[in-house]
Amino acid sequence: MTDLRTDISYATPGEGSFSDYVALLKPRVMSLVVFTALVGMLVAPGNLHPVEALAAIIFIALGAGASGALNMWWDADIDQVMKRTAKRPIPAGKIAPGEALGLGMALSGLSVIMLWLATNALAGFLLAFTIFFYTVIYSMWLKRATPQNIVIGGAAGAFPPMVGWVAVTGSISLEACLMFMLIFMWTPPHFWALALFMKSDYHKAKVPMLTVTHGRKATRAHILVYTIALVPFALATGFTAIGGPVYLALAVILNLMFLHGAYAIWCRSEMQAEADGYATEKRVFRFSLAYLFLHFVAILAEAALVRVPAYAGFAAEFKLLEVF
């Protein structure tokens, strides 16, 4: 007579709503993964049937969702302590930790095998490695061990365009590596800009964030250094088969603006930042989102423009790195 019981708590395993299980897969992260993986697939040389392409995107997104569920399972203790994450399904008592583990493991296996069957073995392997990297290397090891967690952990978010590329071509190339490096090098300044103005309770959760372990002045310096290191990768992409004059022109403007913002953050003291409510840090953080989005839009635009014969001939002169 379980249906007549009214004392079943929300935390009873298997009694969360459908949207709670969807929330476990981090849908916002999934949307970013879908966008970058889609760009990787669309600009890759080769043909994939639309149904295969749709399946590949769905299973890449599902793989990202699986790693999100595994991350929530492992970090449930941290999420419970921090205000920002306390409403996630596990700390809120809507889903039992074991359910998140089961769902994460099942979706990991399903997404990897299905991506392999839909496209090729290397794409499936790369997706499996991405899930492993995010769950084991980042969540289980680096996140609680080193303030450089964001730097190395950023690789997990950088893999999707490479997986998309490999799904079409079956091999890793310079273009795929540069798209990877673009996201990989962009992640640290993006997150540290956020860490400066989000007075998060990482210290309460005993997560070593750079702002806490090395101070805010050092974090500002790190933002500038990593932004400088990001520029060559962003510009080099313009000289490959996926780049061209439109990408290069946009990349030069965007990188100058990002450098200017990072320099402005570096110049500021904590007193100045507090005085204007972290206006510069917030502006640079918002700009960093547009920075990455516009780079990938430009890559997509190049792939569309290259179909115009007049433009293709002109663009070919810029592709100096195509020989690799």
Partner: protein, 66 residues
């Protein structure tokens, strides 16, 4: 005895069942579509199945081409 009291739990269960059903139907549709594409894609589907077939033997194919 008929269930007359509707608890919030019942709505949640119903929503979860519908959501899962839709997900499974979409998954089946996707696998079906993939199968059609793979089968009609023109790639060779022949593989070893415990009996000798000359078309799978590279030496035999080369011998015939000579």
């Amino acid at each position: 005895m008929a269930i007359t009291r509707e608890h919030e739990l019942h709505k949640r269960r119903s929503g979860r069942n519908v959501g899962l059903a839709v997900t499974l139907v979409l998954f089946i549709g996707l696998v079906f579509g993939l199968t059609i594409v793979k089968v009609s894609g023109g790639s060779s589907l022949e593989a070893f199945d415990h009996s000798y077939r000359p078309t799978l033997d590279p030496d035999h194919v080369r011998f015939q081409q000579r």
